[in-house]
Symmetry: C2
Subunit: 410 residues, 2 copies
Amino acid sequence: MLTEKQLQNFAELAVRVGANMQKGQEVVIRCDVNCQDFAHLIAQKAYEFGAKKVHMEWRDEKLDRINMLNATKDAICDIPKYQTELWNYFIDRKCCLISISAEDPNKYKGCDANKLSAYQIAFQTARQLFRNATMSNYLRWTIVSVPTPEWAKQVFPNDPVNVAVDKMWDAIARIMRLDTPDPTAAWRKHIETLVSRAKFLTEHNFEYIHMKNKTGTDLKVGLAEGHVWIAAEEDGQDGVPFTANMPTEEVFTAPHNRKIDGTVVNALPLVNNGNVIDDFSITFKDGKVVDYKAKIGYDALKGLLESDEGVLSLGEIALIGKNSPIAQSGILFYNTLFDENASCHLAFGASYPTTVKGGNDMTDEQLAARGMNQSIQHVDFMVGTKDIDIDGIGYDGKVVPIFRDGDWII
Amino acid sequence: MLTEKQLQNFAELAVRVGANMQKGQEVVIRCDVNCQDFAHLIAQKAYEFGAKKVHMEWRDEKLDRINMLNATKDAICDIPKYQTELWNYFIDRKCCLISISAEDPNKYKGCDANKLSAYQIAFQTARQLFRNATMSNYLRWTIVSVPTPEWAKQVFPNDPVNVAVDKMWDAIARIMRLDTPDPTAAWRKHIETLVSRAKFLTEHNFEYIHMKNKTGTDLKVGLAEGHVWIAAEEDGQDGVPFTANMPTEEVFTAPHNRKIDGTVVNALPLVNNGNVIDDFSITFKDGKVVDYKAKIGYDALKGLLESDEGVLSLGEIALIGKNSPIAQSGILFYNTLFDENASCHLAFGASYPTTVKGGNDMTDEQLAARGMNQSIQHVDFMVGTKDIDIDGIGYDGKVVPIFRDGDWII
């Protein structure tokens, strides 16, 4: 368990380094009802730093599961108008958004994959405007995590639940640098390191990234024309910087959705909407998935890959060294926020307009011409094994080694 | 603490006897995030009895307090459109509504009374359409309660919090008849008794109710023309009966808002929006408040009585014997749902259109002509002392004794 001071520091990180809330701004805290205590801490902290008003977007994973198990597909897929009105309000008011991510990885275990996938499509379609507002940095946003009993039990299944929750808090404290005297300063320094790596990669303007390991991955990922590598800190459209993921260890950019070839094997399980997908491989040709296999969660993977056309290509490639604090913790969190920062990853679905120069001012057609991918989905999956080698290949064919044996060499 | 079976019975009471949810209906559960466990039980139970879909209207009293203490009056009074859209949706879909009432009586303790009262006006104004939909029985609705630590601590201040919560559960189990083998059957019988008393009073068609005791109350409350006494069960506009309050012990009707004269002294504290008002008296002339005093919470009473014109008259008169199970428990709950069922009470503000014959089909003008009161408020306060005598006075001047020494004699 954290000390009161550490909890306060954590809430401050979310408000100031994460969403970088500005004085007089309205704030949305999006979290499950089971994380209400930390939400209240963040609300209090937001007011200390001058928030105008704090709104809640409550989630309730236990009710979601009850609904998914009991309501009909039609009822589930009927996304209520009050939900979109909530999001529209947040856009209208230019709120900044602080999400607390603490999903039970087994939230939807045993639910009908077909109903679940139909719901996902309906939900993501209804959420499109709002997702655009965050993905294009029109709104500043951040995600942080706190333990819940259900989640901690999945991560530490052999411990009693209170021990599991304590272990989870300890891990989060280290990963979030809450064990340092000045976590905000520690984060500023960390962000600087990541940003310098992103700058190096952007300046090289590689045509391809080539990933290869001994467990079956051999994939050439073309990069979008005019791509920019981004790390840790981005600018909102209002010019105010923010850190969308806390923790973050990744340096990422946009693939070219017509230039991806080869096969990639997952390195960690993919948890999508409460379903675990594992031991899977994906084969691409000319930017599109042409084959896939999964020993665990095949139906869930199938449901995901059938949700629209764009989900069959990639929207993100992200590089993370095996010596990142999260990778070093050796913990599998079953939560993207952490696991994506333990391992290089790719994402099925939409790319971030911010990962090409001037992307926010481009039309969909202009983005597509650059190789930027569009989809209602954006789902990360981990591919960075401890032995992975990664090279950059220039437009002139020149090869620049980036990773050897799973870690940065630049 | 209740057994699992008792909790299940409790949830069933809310769904079947309370809101009387019909197969295929959408359900709204309105509750604080701190009551999520019971909300999930109700959701599950609703599906067992054929709900189409379960929605949540989350409240968060801790955040409400943080907002009230920190946001400006303008920010607080700016009721977001997503809030009214939520209520409009519930009306459009003809949802039935199950509220879990478990407010911390000190929720707003120490907050600025002026800001609080401005907020109440803004909130109730925004909520008018929805309130009309429930008060006119267009939507079927019910209120039930479960203990929370903050509330239990207020009710049993000398006990450790876990003991206080246990005592509260025990009290609720008895009051809700969950200690009987078949609570649903026990409720049906109880409802029958109350309904027969209401019938007796309606048939007498009294012009006035006269309340008198030894602690200063001497009040003649005229009754609306064509009034109907209601108890326990009412019909929704769709003809389906429901029980709006669980527990309920009251038999109530509408005062005539131009025929109230005399003085009434409160018998129990009034908790309004997290403020305790006590030791107060109200004097009426020709149906309107012309004077009021309060030793505790004067500002809160003043704020309430200044919220609109209609709040200065009465919208409800309700009779409850001193031998009701709630009165017998001897517990002051600081919660209207219970305390109003321990004691005869009156309500400042709006009357229920259902308490005159054909009221739901009348215009506001027609209702007003009958003496029905209109206001954005409806706030109960308890006046039934153990020594109260109550008479009915007919249009012919005939006096019929109804209560002697605080209990029914009919």
